[in-house]
Symmetry: D2
């Protein structure tokens, strides 16, 4: 079967690999839609991510929906033909962290599309049946693929502990930021402020629920947000850009006693900010590590129509044009939010 | 000035009392709208509530909006003419509970309209300036009065710890239950189920956000809710009826590890349920005691248009017809939800 | 091999059963010490517990330590000869509750010694390797068996959320209550008050860390505790007797905003208390359901010498005298706290 | 009356100021013992702290015990002659943060001994009666003064959420670190590891409850702690040194899902660490801002003999030798932990 392999920085090639057989406890999924994530882009551009170097050709892609094709030995369901979303996090299930309900920090986790584990830019994959979630009627494959980044945003909202009536700032309005904007609204925030440096993304933020959206390229967003709250700051800050400036801004716009969730992954692997700002406010800073236990809740919310996933899927490409899709996302051109590969 | 006094069970009389002068730290408020609460009804019917007997004629009413008339010595604002909501809870400000941020359980609390503290069914009242909240432009006095029961529902949602995508059951769809339905939706519940024994209230529940509404007079609501969740039960149960049956139902419909918030005040001052049901599920049961710190957040949400308060204000009466209003609420006739006294 | 079977109420007989073979993922344990729990006593006396009736002869016993005898296929360790404690809770590992880290409320849990699952009053048992915890050097089999009730008390302390400097009341000073007294002290309570109706147990409570111990048979313990705190009540109440009175007392002695953890299992399967007491204080009531994730932490604390388990193991009997041991526990005679069966 | 004033960096002079009169709500306290805090030292050395420059001569000192000398108008007690500890945090009592129970982050807080508010290195001071806590019988003035830093450590333990059986690392074993070691033990940690670069402080850490103490000047403390936990890391890290290295170490030695509390105040006002380390573990990082609501609980614990405050008070000086005392603390010579000024 066909698959797209990254061989090194910027080196993407269509190749072949054997169609997998589903083992015990696994299902075979025919891939239909795979979203491109910022981490895919980073790995494609640099041949590594967060210190993990690609030492052999790798299939990327972990935001994924498809159709069950066959069941491995002993697997009860879902039956072939079922449209499904695929949770890319295969945790060990036995360590202290898995047993205590924190599989997202399992030290032995195999994360799909993270070297050396092939991801979803291919025709078929075999996956643990527990991690394959049937899509409700009427949900598209695009939406099914987007349940993965939605899960990140939902988990971020869990971490943030948003209360009814809170004010929330989301710094960075890429796909994850836009989903965080929606989750903040959905969690009952009275006021959501978004920022970005790309004009189209500010428009998307407003359309998807932000009460205000400031352009950090042309405005002093810290002053804007702090002034708007009468000098107090916001209850919750979600940093979803991964830039050094946004981390710094996050501390500045949080209220005393506020919570800052850091979601963005910086290119430079150091974080730095003014200690006195965070200390005087007694801030709580939480690092998001992917997500946990989110598929059922995301599916329930999507099924109830309480989230707009479709608006994120702005562009579609066939598998062999993955390179063009990655390019588009890198250039942030043409109003792209999420590019979806249709296999 | 005029005021309506309860002299004993069912004994309501229009009377006179001196117009108060605002003391230091107080404002004088001209009363405009006062909602009738279930506790007003209970006190009117029985001459007591929860063990507190009315030993002298009492003015009831604690859901209140009006206009600032004058400021006491040293008070900075809000200026005369400002429409305001009045928080009825005057806590001591100095005890361990007040200092630690829990004024709702202050042992020395003076709760407005609770014997021996006169409430709002009168023309003017003097109140601590800290407890008087300016209404945003465009908010009606009805809505201002309803910020008080909305605050209870918001605090119940805080206690319940609703997560995005949770399933919530609200048992009892009177005014508090209907506000809890709205708060559960607003907090991101994926599915809200309401129950009641009054058909009109089930309709109101559906209109205000419940995905399902079951009639406990004609259906086995426990079976309905449990079956609908595939036997699992719901994440959060809000008991807002105060009936012995609804407390029992609350334990039955909660999922293992679920949270039950008890809001309703039972006529009989005992609660009873099957211990084994609650124990096997390892339930957390929280008693709501009024609310705390809710006015600013309620106002922010109402201002942002995220709650429908108007739908609750079904009937209006002038002060001298308070008796008719109480009667209507007792009979639950004519689709009444909240009766508002206009002074 | 030999085993002691309960055939019905009060009907205990020594019998034979085949020595089990450890299956895949299991280890074979030679039983050395088994504590008698209140639930064993209840099942022996009444032939049922909490609605679960013994429909065929059952081996009781779930507080257990022994020695690894053999490993099933594919099991890496611990090696034969290792002294171990046996966690009696076999949860399914796959349901929503297990996956989210709450195996104690797994609806498919098989709890060892709970009909129809044979427990530990026998010579050998096969058990999942994951649930078998090596004992640190110097820990006796008595202590190993007592890690199970200690785990309950540790989990109760987790639920209670005891803060440094809190005041804690433990109502009921049987083995679980005495372990709760120790856990409350260990968690930094400034003052621990215990109650019971058995004089020897009050002495044990004092020796094991209670600052005060009141005899509920001869004193008004509510008045004692409330007066001692100047009318305020205690931060945390742990109800470990399961009597109707102690549940009622728990609500009375808790401070406003306090937490009550209900651990005791009542004979009559109904709980009842004054709603107004719990409501006015805005209490949080948590039901303990066994425990979760406690063995490693209990072992660490026991190894560090921070808990006195030996003091609980007051009596020892050989397997064939299990009936005498149960009798002693029922009569609460001879200063018995925990009777241990040595196999 | 006499007072010691800092006029600028290193410029300390004995001076005179009028003896204050206690106003309404205040008590007059005759100062007896004042501890020297790291922030006093910093202000003395540099003439500023955390951006607050001393623009006029300032009396430092905020760890304070004394005797009530007189009561202001309307104050009920405590009666003259009562030994008391003085809480140095005068929050406004009216802002959102005070009302919600977070006076430690009140934006209008007046912190005693922080410019322009004179502190305790003088003979008398007038202070709000609410903030003056009677000492229990038998408690020395030294211990009374040390309730303030103990409160910081207790609040840090609250923030850290230490569970029974946790492993805790305290990085930095100055007075605050040593109190954190004690609080971690008191909160039920199974294992406490301390670090420092001063040998005497490591000895003190061991004597006060640390199970291990590593010298960061001569050992790779990260490797030591991580290896000792089998590569897992510790549940809770308390950073109490304020050095750039200890912040970095804190992230490294925390377990996945762990909590890091940052207490130390760095000389350089920037914090920096590897983002990938904190992100992959999904760490929660909390900044300590002084403390709240700690005096009653500290007093209860000290009274019950569960903390050793005396061991910290290593040196005593009369008021006029404050300069020598500051010098000693700066040089960390002579095994000094806490130097106490006796007035």
């Amino acid at each position: 079967m066909r698959a797209m392999f990254v061989h090194g920085p910027g080196d993407l090639r269509l190749g072949e690999m054997p169609r997998p057989e589903p083992g015990p406890g696994e299902v075979l999924v025919r891939v239909r839609a795979v979203g491109i994530c910022g981490s895919d882009v980073h790995t494609y551009e640099y041949g590594e991510i967060g210190g993990t170097v690609i030492r052999s050709p790798l299939v990327l892609g972990h935001e994924l929906a498809g159709v069950v094709e066959a069941l491995g030995p002993g697997v009860q369901g879902p039956p072939p033909g079922t449209p499904v979303a695929v949770d890319p996090s295969c945790s060990c299930g036995h360590c202290e962290f898995c047993v205590e309900g924190d599989p997202h920090i399992c030290p032995s986790i195999r994360f799909f599309g993270n070297w050396p584990h092939h991801g979803g830019f291919r025709e078929y994959l075999a996956h643990p049946a527990d991690l394959v979630h049937p899509l409700p009627e009427g949900m598209s494959f695009d939406e099914g693929a987007l349940l993965e980044p939605m899960g990140v945003a939902l988990f971020v909202a869990d971490l943030a502990g948003i209360r009814l009536g809170d004010r929330v700032a989301v710094l960075g309005s890429g796909p994850i930021g836009l989903l965080c904007v929606q989750m903040a609204r959905l969690a009952g925030a009275a006021e959501v402020t978004a920022t970005d440096v790309v004009v189209e993304r500010l428009g998307a933020a407003r359309r998807l629920g932000a009460d205000m959206a400031w352009n950090a390229a042309t405005e002093d967003v810290v002053a804007r947000i702090v002034d708007h709250t009468g000098g107090r700051g916001v209850d919750v800050v979600i940093e979803a850009a991964g830039a050094p400036e946004t981390v710094e801004q996050a501390m500045e716009v949080a209220k005393p006693g506020g919570t800052v969730v850091l979601v963005g992954i910086p290119a430079e692997d150091r974080v730095t900010f003014r200690a006195s700002v965070a200390r005087r406010k007694g801030l709580t800073i939480k690092y998001d590590r992917r997500m946990k236990h989110t598929y059922p809740r995301c599916i329930a919310l999507a099924q109830a129509g309480r989230v707009n996933l479709k608006a994120l899927a702005t562009h579609h490409f066939p598998l062999e044009r993955l390179g063009d899709a990655l390019d588009l996302v890198i250039r942030r051109a043409d109003g792209v939010l999420k590019a979806i590969i249709e296999v």
